[in-house]
Symmetry: C2
Amino acid sequence: MTMKKGKTKKRNIESDSRQQILDGALKLFAHKGYAAATVRDIVDASGITAPSLYYYFGNKEGLYMELMQTHCARIDQALESHMHTSSSAKERLKDLVDKIFLHVANDRDFFRLMFTIYYGPSQGAPYCDFISYHAKFHAAIKKIIEEGIASGEFQPGNSGHMTWVIRGVVQLAMEEQIKEDRKIIDRQGLQKILDMLLDRFERLPSVNGKK
Amino acid sequence: MTMKKGKTKKRNIESDSRQQILDGALKLFAHKGYAAATVRDIVDASGITAPSLYYYFGNKEGLYMELMQTHCARIDQALESHMHTSSSAKERLKDLVDKIFLHVANDRDFFRLMFTIYYGPSQGAPYCDFISYHAKFHAAIKKIIEEGIASGEFQPGNSGHMTWVIRGVVQLAMEEQIKEDRKIIDRQGLQKILDMLLDRFERLPSVNGKK
DNA sequence: GTCTATAAACTGATAGAC
DNA sequence: GTCTATCAGTTTATAGAC
């Protein structure tokens, strides 16, 4: 309250206590779960004490909500700013998927947390709406597929079903990426699988294909 | 200890307290998470008191582990006892997937819990090895695909990639099935998507296909 | 086996000094 | 802003009567 954004006195440079709490909390929420990650855990991991956490975020829920809002905004950004090139539907699909996958790989802890709360138990965490992001991603894929069908690039067919197939592959790749132990499938692997799959969707297979 | 399996005296028939605890616990673990579902929650939902829970299961972890072991054994059973018919690879794949999907749909709470602990935070729950089930399912799919390629039913190609695609669709269908709100994709829907997908894998498309 | 009563540890949260 | 000290409520778990 007294000073606004001057240099910190004692803390080692550039690392706001605030940010340290956010970092430690995300890691712990993602690996132990919202309920199992206690404020004690968080403040110990962040190298500060409980009152600082409550000073910045009000309570545990406030801390959680701020984490969600920050990272959700980044998803929005990534989903908005895709596709400027006017290449083939196949390339646009691969580009979109790659962008999202990279995003997940670079923010694994958040997506781990998001996925488990979206698909699983609430863990006592305050409600946070994730449906729109899944819907946006689904819609973006479907749109490209329908454009590909309209242009003759893809065989005619049920675009909804095709969308589910694409989303399925991506979902599985994301979830394997999110797991802490072994990442069975990586960025290139996912692209190769998409190549194979989209080749099967193309109009005249194995004529100009490179396979 | 005194009597072994005689009729219960006071409890309403056929509902062992033990089983009621298991039922209530699974529901709560699946919807609130292991850590957030307290012993109090469980005993309240089961209509018994805490000491009975500890009498039967030792502690919260023991209760959880027994739940896991029981339901995991059922997965084993389902995975072992598939495929007796010697029909086409496509039909065998659809049959396997249908069997598993039905299994998930009939034991939603358990799979909800299993999936989120496998892919997400531990929630403070004792470790339970789920990898083998995922591996078995993956291997079973891959085996059928390779047989289909060998017999000429499927186009030659990377069986590993094809397996990932199948698993992706199934994974997404399962997870949507597990969510409590809207089940977007059902049993028939999954089968239709598999039809579309496997048609694309077949050797000569659109000749004898039923579209 | 099932209960009442209660212990012992933990959890989210705050008061108040600096 | 950050700390020490601490509280009130909760959570896991048990002792002991019936």
